[in-house]
Amino acid sequence: MGVDIGVPGVVASRLETAVNWARKFSLFQYPFVTACCGMEYMAVACARYDVSRFGAEIPRFSPRQADLLWVVGTVNHKLAPHLARIHAQISDPKWVISFGVCASTGGFYDNYATVQGIDKIIPVDVYIPGCPPRPEQVLDALMMLQDKIQREKWGAPRAASDVAPAIAAVPA
């Protein structure tokens, strides 16, 4: 992340690079777990696969204290406004991982009740396929997200596809 400038104990870097580096290794996650993928999420979080190796071991059950939203499982239209509200409650910078095929595309629930992928409601950074995904896939996705965070440019406007719509229709 930096270059050696010949002074002992000093490394030169750009502020952006250094802060992105810090951010990618201290992801506080909000697990929005609705279905069976939650079991796989638990496997990732526990000692065997040990997500704390990536600095993302602390789940926060308040969106105010989180910056990484895991959407783990099927989301239906009844639930959609509440997921959008939780996403809105997370303060920037924030990232979203869509965990499993149901969250990513609706999966085999191709019907009236299920949202056909949470990207219809909120922007998604990384999609994980699988029903359910293996923990290795989840960790791979987490590393992809870390790469993405490291490459982020602060001043650049976010792409339109990365911005969530105003949630006007959320019932109280």
Binding site: H77, A80, D110, A113, V115, K120, I122, A166, A168, A169
Partner: protein, 184 residues
């Protein structure tokens, strides 16, 4: 075991029982809607039968058939350990049937679910609201004439649902159909 229950039911209410079957060991009585409350109360209170548990209330939409719907009651006796199924035919126009919440309290949510999914009203139900879908949902999704993929989003969507399917259709299916038409 429940063969005896079915026989005594038929003997007691011959005017209300339209038909009986025992296919695959499941004793079933098809009951006229008019006799439902009388029969269910009798099944619960007769000591030899003692159907004190209503396992489930559900429905079937036969669409083309007349009468279109059938409401299905699964009964069980905890003390006698036998089962019986009642089926009540219901017509397509303003489908409604008497509520059995007065006989078994467990009918409350089960009948709400049938109302939610099939739009069959239960007369005398204390609180007939949707139980699975949201209040603003229009229609009854388990009816055979409800389009299977017709969702009713509660909020503005960022992208169309099933855009990939439509894209596939315009890119490949429609083009292929046009190409076939153009062939001499």
């Amino acid at each position: 075991m429940s063969r005896a229950a079915l026989d005594s039911l038929v003997a007691a209410f011959p005017q209300h029982i339209l038909e009986t079957t025992d296919r695959l060991g499941d004793e079933v009585a098809i009951v006229a809607p008019a006799g439902l409350l009388e029969i269910t109360t009798w099944l619960r209170d007769t000591p030899a039968l003692a159907f004190n548990m209503l396992s489930d209330v559900t429905a079937v939409d036969y669409l083309a058939r007349n009468p279109r719907f059938e409401v299905v009651y699964q009964l069980y006796s905890v003390s006698k350990k036998h089962r019986l199924r009642l089926r009540v035919p219901v017509g397509a126009e303003n489908p409604s049937v008497a509520s059995v919440t007065g006989v078994w309290l467990s009918a409350n949510w089960a009948e709400r679910e049938v109302w939610d999914m099939y739009g069959i009203r239960f007369e005398g139900h204390p609180d007939l609201r949707r139980v699975l879908m949201y209040e603003e949902f229009e229609g009854h999704p388990l009816r055979k004439d409800y389009p299977m993929q017709q969702s009713q989003p509660r909020m503005d969507l960022r992208r169309k649902e099933r855009d990939a399917v439509e894209e596939y259709k315009t890119l490949y299916v429609d083009k292929l159909a046009q190409a076939r038409k153009a062939e001499p």
